[in-house]
């Protein structure tokens, strides 16, 4: 019968339709679950995972005080107050409360900001303290919210400001230690990722829950001694006042370790209010960032080179005519009249340029500064005393300076003749101080360092005493001779200033300042420096003083030396150095 055939055929049609639809399902499911799996897994993460950042606490910075860590930089939580103008009910109440509680923190145009009802987020006050924030919260204002922000606090005010640097509004460390060690200080923010249900209640489902605690930043202890730093800043300020200089730097280093005991720059600023600084030059740590022609201080290095090479001895003599000609270019002395056959000690005492050009000549064939003389000088100045290159001190924005090699077009005999008395090269105070330290400490070069250790779990964890990066920079005997020369030089004119029973030596410097157009030197401006040390048998501190000012002719002996003397006499007591002999 036809009917039966029909039933079967209809049944087949059902089966076909069913299989057709199901094959669409299979294809679609393959697309959704296999091909698009990544896409949907990402969407799932997006809505199911609640991601939070656990902010790491920025590391604290300590100075030392009597050998113990003493806080220089701390953190405090302040609040940024924001408004959601769209849901503010009573604008006048918000205005009244904010003015009453946090008047000084308000943005000047905050009332206008509250009227922007198409906006959901307007910052109306910043740096509100916890106390103020609590008071505002008590008022129960609708549409006002708080955001906790960590900011730096400086219990010592502007002390060592350029050494520290500052932290900007984005939490980024700039300049100084904050800039150089930003990553270490910042630490690593923790992550908190939780799978939550639709109302953000955490679930214990799956393997996507992440809890990485924040790693707080390193708490760094500086080699800076807060008392020495403080005294150095005062002495420098007094020096500026006395001399009329506008800029000054003092660098105090332990010559037997390279540790910076103080590093002061004026003018300075308060890092808590870095945003009020109008001249960004104030952020610069001139002791490391501003190369200059170091001048006569470098004569000691020339002398050390000569002695170390065995071409001169302090008591050797030369004919001083107050002028010396190199390749048709005549070099004169600043102090005239010490003419005749004089010793190199005399040349150092009176800072006579001719004496040190002579040393340079004797490094060559005795008459000219030969290529080999220049190479020797370059080896000592650049490779051993490390002038004209970065020292690697742990501070941001260090500048390398320039020292021309003999194979350089600029590295001719005239250049090296001027370098013998400290002109014609660019170096920073820290470079000169570090090289000088190596010369006087028996010949060990220490990298200048400012990091003394860390505070870990509230206890001081000093790093190992620095080791010299190079020994035998000069011979031990050279070092002894140089100290004797400098002590003699200082004693001959300024010995009466020093405390008895100590060995104080040093060298004045009056550097000419190169003209900005590169044509010679300014005739109305000079930088006064004094580079000296003190101690008993061995030097225990090196102090570098530098004073300068636009259009000011400052002199090493007259202007910089008193600052050295002031600090030197004080520091002997502070460091409790016992007199000898």
């Amino acid at each position: 019968m036809k009917q039966t055939v029909l039933y079967t055929r209809r049944s087949r049609i059902f089966a076909t339709i069913l299989l057709l639809i199901v094959s669409i399902f299979v294809v679609r499911l393959f697309y959704l679950q296999v091909i698009q799996h990544g896409h949907y897994a990402a969407l799932a993460d997006q809505e199911q995972l609640k991601k939070e950042r656990i902010p790491a606490m920025r590391g604290l910075i300590y100075a030392k005080s009597d050998g113990k860590p003493s806080l220089l930089v701390m953190n405090e939580t302040v609040y940024t107050v924001f408004a959601d103008p769209a849901i503010i009910k009573d604008k006048q109440e918000v205005v009244d409360v904010m003015k009453r509680v946090a008047g000084g923190n308000l943005r000047t145009d905050f009332e206008a900001l509250l009227d922007k009802t198409d906006s959901r987020y307007q910052i109306i006050a910043t740096k509100v303290t916890r106390l103020q924030a609590d008071k505002i919260k008590e008022e129960g204002l609708s549409g006002v919210g708080f955001q906790a922000v960590s900011q730096r606090v400086y219990p010592e005010g502007s002390l060592a400001a350029q050494v520290l640097g500052f932290v900007n509004g984005e939490g980024e460390g700039l300049y100084g230690l904050e800039g150089y060690m930003d990553a270490d200080l910042q630490g690593v923010d923790g992550r908190l990722e939780t799978v939550t249900d639709v109302s953000d209640v955490p679930l214990t489902i799956g393997d996507r829950n992440v809890r990485e605690p924040a790693q707080n930043g390193d708490n760094i202890v500086l080699t800076i001694d807060r008392n020495i730093q403080s005294y150095a800043e005062q002495a420098l300020a007094a020096g500026l006042k006395r001399t009329g200089a506008t800029n000054g730097s003092v660098l105090i280093m332990d010559p037997t370790s390279g540790e910076i005991m103080a590093m002061a720059n004026l003018p300075t600023y308060n890092p808590a209010e870095y945003f009020k600084v109008t001249d960004v030059a104030q952020f610069n740590n001139n002791a490391i960032s501003k190369p200059y022609e170091p001048g006569s201080d470098v004569k000691t290095l020339t002398m050390a080179t000569g002695i170390d090479q065995g071409v001169v001895k302090p008591e050797d003599t030369f004919l001083n005519t107050d002028a010396i000609e190199i390749d048709g270019w005549t070099i004169g002395n600043a102090t005239k009249g010490k003419t005749g056959i004089i010793s190199f000690q005399t040349a150092l005492t009176w800072s006579l340029n001719t004496g040190f050009v002579t040393v340079a000549q004797r490094l060559g064939d005795g008459k000219t500064i030969t290529r080999s003389a220049r190479e020797t000088m370059y080896q000592y100045f650049h490779d051993r005393f490390r002038l004209g290159q970065l020292t690697g001190i742990e501070l941001a924005n260090e500048a390398p300076g320039i020292l021309y090699a003999p194979d350089h077009q600029e590295g001719n005999a005239i250049r090296y003749a001027t370098m013998a008395f400290g002109q014609g090269l660019d170096a920073t105070l820290v470079q000169v101080t570090a090289g000088f330290s190596a010369m006087i400490n028996g010949g060990s070069y220490y990298t200048p360092t400012i990091v003394d250790g860390y505070v870990v779990d509230n206890s001081y964890d000093p790093i190992d005493a620095p080791k010299p990066v190079e020994s035998g920079v000069v011979k031990e005997s050279t070092s002894d001779s140089m100290r004797a020369m400098m002590e003699t030089a200082r004693a001959s004119s300024f010995g009466y200033l020093d405390r008895q029973g100590y060995k104080i030596g040093g060298k004045t410097g009056t550097s000419q300042v190169a003209r900005e157009d590169g044509r010679g030197y300014k005739d109305d401006e000079s930088i006064a420096t004094y580079l000296g040390y003190g101690g008993t048998d061995m030097p225990e501190y090196v102090i570098m003083v530098s004073l300068s000012g636009e259009g000011r002719e400052l002199q090493g002996a007259r202007d910089a030396l008193p600052v050295f003397t002031d600090i030197s006499n004080w520091i002997i007591d502070y460091l409790k150095i016992q007199p000898k002999g």
Binding site: M1, Q3, T4, V5, L6, Y7, T8, R10, S11, I13, F14, A15, L18, L19, I21, V22, I24, F25, V26, R28, L29, F30, L32, Q33, V34, Q36, H37, H39, Y40, A41, L43, A44, E47, Q48, V195, D197, V198, S199, V201, L203, I205, G206
Partner: protein, 430 residues
């Protein structure tokens, strides 16, 4: 109607086209597949029940325990197994004999529900502005639409078989109008009064499947499909929430609106997609913790896909298809047209649920609020579904080989074996 049925019965032993067959072993695969599907559902509810309870507790302040949904589903499971067994045992003749009463019962229950809802009696449960359930307190709830669905299934099968025997299946006046009248009345109660489009679609699928198998001409298939389409469109346009669903569907992935439907489909796709090839594993579904609406009811397929991945959804689809194909096989081998149509109706019912539910979850058809049979949480739908499956299971005892149907329904059949069997069977069945 009852008289008609009696006439048919009395005529059947000698009438052409009716084959009396010996009762034999049922098709156990039907029970096996159905049982597997129900167990999968139970496992899934067990896994996501705590999340469901959590969400309801935290959002609505209920106090469901972690095992609340599992225990309730376990009760439903037992009831459903009971219902399967009951309909597998209850002689199918009861169903065919009391088809009319069953239909009337369903209609009455629906009407009473509507009146009770209108009168605000406490025996009804109202959710989302629709009253669909009787609430018998501790005895549980009952959805009269399910009774009605069953009633329509039984009644139309018997009615159509009778008409088919007489010839005029495609006769509008004698056959199609009455069927349409019964169907329309039921749809009116279910879709318009109870606002349950899903059950309505299932009902339409039941009737349409039976009509199709009974031999509805292609022309009338087209006419009825058109009519259903028009009714469907009217229903969609008349209800804003349905319109929304359709718009969501039409906009597809590019939809920028953030209405409930878009959200629902998007969350279903995230559930399926994040499941990947092998799924996130039992008890690891996050989408069930409130992201995916109706996670334990209409959206259980998506949760299943999240939990067991593509491999799981394939296995599940294979199970569903196997069960549906099994029904077609039983249908093909039933000689009695009434029984054939009963199976066709169950096929339409079950198939419509499976297809419409999955299609909505994978975003290729608008949401209709239809459950995934045997897996979705909810007692009434499962109990009635298993009742229908139990009936099919019972009917699988009366199948004969297809060739025999052909032989014996031919007037000039010369099979002796058939005659012999007939005698044998009639002795047993009496």
């Amino acid at each position: 109607m009852e008289q008609g049925w009696r006439r048919q019965r009395s005529a059947s032993p000698s009438g052409s086209g009716s084959v009396v067959v010996r009762k034999h072993r049922p098709d156990h695969l039907i029970a096996l597949y159905a049982g597997m599907l129900m167990l999968i559902g139970l496992v899934l509810i067990y896994a996501i029940g705590p999340q469901r309870a959590n969400v309801l507790n935290s959002v609505f302040g209920y106090d469901y325990s972690d095992t609340y949904f599992f225990v309730k589903q376990l009760v439903s499971f037992v009831l459903a197994v009971g219902s399967f067994v009951f309909f597998a045992m209850l002689p199918y003749k009861w169903v065919t004999r009391y088809a009319t009463q069953l239909l009337i019962l369903g209609l009455l229950a629906s009407v009473i529900l509507a009146i009770a809802a209108w009168a605000g009696l406490p025996i009804v449960q109202t959710a989302n502005g629709a009253t669909r359930w009787f609430d018998f307190g501790p005895l549980g709830t009952l959805q009269p639409a399910e009774v009605l669905k069953f009633g329509v299934l039984a009644y139309v099968a018997v009615f159509l078989a009778k008409k088919a025997k007489e010839g005029p299946v495609n006769d509008w006046k004698n056959t199609l109008y009455p069927v349409m009248a019964v169907t329309s009345l039921s749809l009116l109660l279910i879709v318009v009064v109870q606002k349950d489009l899903g059950t309505g679609i299932a009902l339409a699928a039941i009737v349409f499947s039976m009509l199709f198998i009974a031999g509805l001409s292609w022309r009338n298939v087209a006419v009825l499909s058109g009519a259903l389409l028009v009714i469907g469109l009217l229903l969609i346009v008349s209800a804003p929430h349905r319109m929304e669903r359709v718009m969501t569907y039409l906009q597809g992935d590019s939809s920028t609106t953030q209405d409930d439907g878009t959200y629902h489909i998007q969350q279903a796709k995230i559930a399926l997609g994040s499941g990947g090839l092998f799924g996130v594993g039992i008890g690891e579904s996050v989408q069930a913790s409130g992201y995916l609406p109706e996670a334990i009811n209409d959206s259980i397929f998506a949760v299943f896909g999240e939990t067991f991945g593509f491999v799981g959804t394939m296995a599940l689809i294979v199970l569903f298809v196997a069960l549906l194909m099994r029904m077609l096989r039983v249908m093909d081998r039933l000689a009695d047209l009434r029984l054939k149509l009963l199976v066709a109706g169950v096929f339409g019912w079950f198939g419509a649920h499976v297809i419409l539910n999955i299609a909505a979850m994978i975003g290729i058809f608008p949401l209709t609020g239809i459950t995934l049979p045997l897996l979705s949480y909810g007692g009434t739908s499962m109990v009635f579904m298993t009742a229908a499956l139990g009936l099919v299971y019972q009917l699988s005892r009366y199948t004969v080989h297809e060739s025999r149907i052909k032989e014996e329904t031919h007037e000039d059949s010369r099979s002796r074996r058939g005659v012999g069997r007939t005698r044998n069977a009639s002795r047993r069945s009496s």
